[in-house]
């Protein structure tokens, strides 16, 4: 199996795709305003003509490169290239301002590599075990799993749980458009032939994540940014290695663990790691003033997420985040269905993904240490050139899926929707996840009721179902309790002032 997977990955073209993916991802990641999800969504159409392994590895390369690339802009511009590197900016930019830009970039690169490496180990160790366990799932368990995935993602994403849920439900509703698989009835097609096979989620993703971001770029077209600090030596010195290993290993593991939870992305992981590193540090007062630990910990954590996020995607078919959702799209286009059966039916592809992730991290280290000066040149690409190019790529990319103009219309529509979602602080991720999890939830819901002859207690008939049910309740109540506690805390701090007055 391993030899078969190695044979799939160690092809010159696959290695080249991985290298190009990491380099491209680094360029995308370091450009403020271009998110990792947007980068992966833009590259996705290029994979339609490829085989399964090269296509998914190209996307993994972009993913790894973009998560790391975000730190370049965070350190040099004080503007995180991606939300995942926002925590890095706190100390990275301060280091760059002191003339230590190279040192900060070196620490960030090696910490990211360690985090990425740990996430690979997590993926390799946990994924097969989880997939094996998931083989015990039948229709009721899969329904509860889909519901749990949607609830946790909706409750975590965005500022309001209700808006997150509405976004997810709308995604699920869009997924019902087209031919009903079980009865063959048409739903919400309005006699439009383009809707008979449903709405493909790839143009929706390109619209929501890439086109909407381009509209935001148009809005901020006049905003200019200038890099700070000259990059001298990138390779860390003696004392920095101690900091890197002290933070890289535990926070890389933390990131990998957080990555396995659907919906909790690299941005949350990096802030948790930053907070923990500060509380554990012997010099917490240096945090925010250019602490090397403040760069190392969030970078290890955000790259640690990359492998962790692939675990629910590969084992359960549930995307851990929006990038994993795009990867599911890529695998589906190739005729591969992620989920527990993937490990049985297409194990070589799974192992190829493991090896590919490992190689992508090695490429990230090599490129990060050797060519960081070249990548920082990308920061000088003017927005007025970048934004129209992204728009053109969105049009071409969504057309390339089926050579159909209707997909372009869908992309543009969701681009507009995505823009207003961003303005209203509604997370678009639940919509996409609803679109992906909706059919899984519906088919298993109906299949379970078909098997139980309409008995709804089937959804709580096993221990696994109860476990998912408990997790659903916790995930829905957690943000409400958290908000109440925060409000209570606020009120308590305000009361003495009020009494004094």
């Amino acid at each position: 199996m391993l030899i078969e997977a190695l044979d799939l990955v160690l092809q010159p073209n696959v290695i080249l795709y991985l290298l190009v993916g990491v380099a491209g991802g680094m360029c995308i990641g370091c450009l403020p305003g271009l998110t990792t999800t947007m980068g992966v969504a833009l590259v996705l159409p290029l994979t339609f003509g490829m085989n399964a392994v090269p296509s998914i590895l190209l996307l993994i390369g972009v993913y790894v490169g973009a998560v790391y690339g975000g730190s370049l802009a965070a350190i040099l511009l004080n503007t995180p290239g991606t939300p995942a590197s926002a925590a890095t900016a706190l100390d990275g930019y301060k280091m760059a301002s002191k003339g230590e830009a190279g040192r900060a970039l070196g620490i960030s690169t090696i910490s990211s590599f360690i985090g990425g490496l740990i996430s690979c180990v997590f993926l390799i160790l946990i994924a097969p075990v989880l997939a094996d366990f998931a083989l015990k799932f039948s229709a009721p368990e899969f329904f509860m799993l889909a519901l749990f995935g949607l609830c946790i993602i909706s409750s975590i994403s965005g500022k309001s749980i209700f808006l997150g849920l509405i976004s997810g439900f709308i995604g699920m509703f869009i997924a019902t458009i087209g031919l009903d698989d079980i009865t063959g009835s048409m739903r919400f097609t309005f006699d439009n032939i383009n809707l008979y096979s449903g709405i493909n989620f790839i143009p929706v993703m390109i619209g929501l994540f890439a086109m909407s971001q381009a509209f935001i770029g148009v809005e901020q077209i006049g905003v200019k940014s200038k890099a700070t600090g000259k990059i001298k030596r990138v390779l860390p010195k003696g004392s920095d290695w101690k900091v890197i290993f002290k933070n890289g290993v535990p926070f890389g593991s933390l990131g990998a663990l957080i990555g396995t939870i659907p919906g909790v992305g690299a941005d949350i992981a990096s802030f948790i790691a930053y907070g923990q590193a500060k509380s554990l540090s012997k010099k917490p007062e240096e945090f925010g003033q250019g602490s090397s630990e403040g760069v190392s910990a969030p970078e290890a954590a955000n790259n640690g997420v990359t492998g962790g996020a692939l675990i629910p995607m590969l084992c359960l078919g549930v995307p851990g985040d929006a990038v994993a959702a795009i990867m599911i799209g890529s695998l589906t286009v190739q005729g591969i269905q992620p989920g527990p059966l993937l490990f049985q039916n297409d194990a070589s592809t799974v192992y190829a993904i493991f090896i590919g992730l490992l190689i992508a991290n090695v490429f990230m280290l090599i490129l990060g240490l050797s060519s960081v000066r070249i990548f920082t040149k990308v920061l000088s690409v003017p927005k007025p050139v970048l934004v129209p190019t992204i728009m053109l790529l969105c049009f071409v990319g969504s057309y390339a899926l089926n050579n159909n103009m209707f997909d372009v219309v869908v992309m543009l529509f969701f681009g507009v929707v995505g823009y207003f979602f961003q303005k209203l602080e509604i997370s678009a991720s639940p919509l996409i996840l609803g679109l992906i999890l909706g059919p899984m939830a519906e088919s298993n819901f109906r299949r379970a009721l078909l098997m139980s002859r309409g008995d709804y207690s089937t959804f709580l008939s096993t221990g696994i179902c109860w476990a998912f049910f408990t997790l659903i309740i916790i995930s829905l109540l957690f943000p409400i309790i958290k908000n109440r506690m925060l409000n209570k805390q606020k009120n308590n701090t305000h009361t003495p002032d009020f009494e004094r007055n």
Binding site: F173, E219, P388, F395, Y399, L424, G454
Partner: protein, 148 residues
């Protein structure tokens, strides 16, 4: 932001009512086994309930930070959206390369003060690379429209 949230949630509620109306035309459950109508009805009800709760929550809330939707930056975005709709229609009629060149050159001109020659070179290079990669390397046919 409060007003914008109220308007958006009303749209979501209206959407859920409309989808409930449409779902009622679909075949219902038979002998306890859910038909094609059941799932969309459940989702529409979920949107309706979440929307109503959010509406009440926002209605009680005091005005938060204002949301700018009609300043010059927003209007630039709306004009761009309009341009893209026109581009989509014209691309189908005229062809990909010609309309894309006009679009890219036009947007460069509008958004930046890059010299004319550079704008033209950038436009040709970007459209050329995109067309080359997708049409020749990825075999995506761009054979539509009366021109090229």
């Amino acid at each position: 932001m409060r007003k914008a949230h109220l308007i958006s949630v009303v749209i979501f509620i209206l959407f859920s009512i409309f989808s409930l109306y449409l779902s009622s035309d679909l075949p219902d459950s038979r002998r306890g086994v859910p038909g094609p109508a059941v799932w969309p009805i459940i989702i529409s009800c979920a949107v309706l309930i979440s929307g109503c709760i959010f509406f009440i929550k926002i209605f009680r809330k005091k005005e938060s930070e204002p949301l700018e939707l009609f300043n010059s930056d927003n209007i630039r975005v709306y004009i761009t959206m309009g341009i893209l709709v026109v581009y989509l229609i014209l691309m189908n009629m005229i062809g990909f390369v010609v309309t894309s060149l006009v679009l890219i050159f036009g947007l460069f001109t509008w958004f930046s003060d890059i010299p004319l020659m550079k704008r033209a070179i950038f436009s040709f290079a970007i459209v050329g690379i995109v067309y080359g990669v997708f049409n020749y390397a990825l075999n995506v046919p761009f054979r539509f429209g009366i021109l090229f």
